[in-house]
Point group: C2
Chain length 348, copies 2
DNA sequence: TCGTACAACTAGTACGTACAAGTGCTACGT
DNA sequence: ACGTAGCACTTGTACGTACTAGTTGTACGA
């Protein structure tokens, strides 16, 4: 652990310069090119030499320089991922992207969108880092701004607010998911089923449409009732308070997503309304929250792993297979029944 | 929007090569070096030329190449941030790091720790990208593994599980925070105050200690009662169930963090226990969850913006001011009183 | 004996930018 | 008229790696 004997300039910090391939080459007594070969696992070096190179690398504490690699390589094999950390389901997708990308020999680069850092800046960063494609999770961008990005690199929009041309889209058949929820509730005997809307959030329009259609199909057109919301817990809580203040109380609610379902559920609990005895609640996304034992939210599952897999695949198809036409990939959702929904009670 | 007239090789994708400074230089009729000057906003170029360079850059759709900049520059001015997305409070800190770093003219690079990607790999990535320092949020790493990292770059541990030498630590005075919680509850008349533990999670040991000390100070040694947990919602729910099954029911609970408080609170609500009428609950972290109207959790605030600011500052001190001694930065927490705590009811 | 084939290597250059060290050119003071 | 200063620019090289096009040396077949 003693400092290297090398008499480098003392520098301000005293931290020695990081070793390069040339340093390894010098130590082993070969050329830098050969060291490069060894690290890339290419043929052209003897077993003996390979061993010595790795040994020397270990001793020197060598670490490949990503910047140099990126600069030199023709392909960066990097996928840029734009995300926020606010929605649990988005976090799940980000996590799932790592193994999905790795399977295709791509590398994931994250760029967070936060309050002080809008989507444009985040994209700039990714493109500056030579990402070959951009995956955007739940974007709020306008189609024309996204189009600009798509002009520079293939874009895959995962659950976007609005569909846009010039890019691939991966999303779930939200209408179908909501229909399953309605089917489930009607089977349990419910008729007064309310929907809490997600406003302009990703998928909200389709979920709303799916709700309307499914209700009509069950002959429940007169029970259609949509309460405005925006996918937040607070909007769910607000909806619950509105319902409590109202004289026509439904027997079931389909929330726009799990977060609003959470606000709804807890507000009901606080008010002494029992779930599912007094009212059944269905969420959407099957996020981590839904699975918690004390929440036990019946929800519509959108498989994060599958979404990630397909998104990466879409990007790879453009990058490696030369596809140039847009793809709209729609996944079938699945209803996950938990404890927040139950048989309609005869006295309700 | 028509494709450039340039007859580049058709390539597999047909996407044209990205323009470089030399392309701009050629178009304007100056040298690449001058273009570099202009972009770095250095003196040595006429106003007229600057304008023309920017114009040409715009027309060509030029974007600086981060890899090349990184490779050439002596300093990368990048701070690597290791984080998970599982704890809301950590997310807050990540968000706050952006403006804090920007203020010091540093750039933030994220590296997520997820199931399929351990801390070691995430650090490798950051160091490979020439990050000058590493900020780790809520690390679970062992001190000796961290020491290895610290050998390569300054490390700032934000709310680490355990303190380690060779790096800076930014944390809150957790014992003090819990003491405030105990003070608050005793003022409200509570005596049977239980603590739900965080096991080996960051800060848990100190919170436990703070609880014990504060209870004794209030002459409540006999009421000390610690229920095991691990900061998860489920552990909070489990604790609630345990308490419900038990014949000695406390009048107040201090949870190890907001997540476990959440599990506790909701499980109580489901069981018909009213909060705060039947029992008062205090969380820790003052995360987004705590502030939700239907949760309204009294919690101990750890200011994310301040934490971020100090963490960046600690790194900068090492990098720019040559500090080599360790710093242990302790922030004072503040109790945020909400609706989950209330006066002890006489009939309790 | 020579040519050939192959393994194991090296030389050299390119990637796009930053930066040090120049080179002209004009203006200006004496 | 001459020296000098300063502006606006250029030349050249370095950063660390990848990759092409060699170059050596040895074994082997005819």
């Amino acid at each position: 652990m003693r400092d290297a004997e090398e008499a480098v300039q003392p520098g301000i910090t005293g931290r020695q310069k990081r070793p390069t391939m040339s340093d390894i080459a010098a130590r082993v007594g070969v050329s830098q090119a050969l060291v490069s070969l060894v690290f890339r696992n290419q043929p052209g070096a003897s077993v003996r030499t390979r061993e010595r190179v790795f040994e020397a690398a270990e001793e020197l504490g060598y670490r490949p320089d990503t910047a140099a690699q990126l600069l030199r390589r023709t392909r960066s094999r990097q996928l840029g991922v734009l995300f926020t950390m606010r929605h649990p389901h988005d976090v799940d997708i980000v996590e799932a992207l790592y193994p999905a990308a790795e399977k295709q020999d791509y590398h994931v680069v994250l760029s967070a969108m936060v309050a002080t850092r809008d989507e444009r800046r985040a994209v700039e960063e990714l493109l500056g880092l030579r990402c070959e494609a951009i995956l955007i999770i739940g974007t709020e961008s306008t189609p024309d701004r996204l189009a600009v990005v798509a002009g520079e690199a293939p874009v895959v929009a995962i659950n976007p607010r609005k569909r846009a041309s010039g890019m691939d889209v991966v999303r779930t058949a939200d209408a179908k998911g909501v229909r399953q929820a309605v089917d489930h509730l009607t089977e349990l005997g419910h008729r007064a089923i309310v929907h809490i809307d997600g406003g302009s959030m990703p998928g909200a329009a389709e979920r709303r449409r799916g709700y309307r259609t499914a209700m009509r199909r069950h002959g429940l057109a007169e029970h259609i009732r949509i309460i405005p919301g925006d996918y937040t817990e607070e909007s769910g809580a607000r909806a619950a308070r509105d319902l409590l203040a109202c004289d026509t109380f439904p027997t079931a609610v389909i929330a726009g997503n799990d977060r609003s379902a959470h606000g709804l559920l807890t507000t009901f609990l606080r008010a002494g309304v029992r779930v599912p005895d007094d009212i059944s609640i269905v969420g959407y996304d099957d996020s981590r929250l839904a699975g918690l034992s004390f929440i036990g939210l019946t929800s519509v599952r959108q498989d994060a792993a599958e979404v990630a897999e397909l998104a990466v695949q879409a990007a790879v198809e453009r990058l490696d297979n030369g596809r140039t036409t847009d793809r709209d990939i729609v996944l079938d959702p699945a209803l996950v029944v938990r404890e927040s929904t139950g048989q309609l009670r005869s006295d309700a």
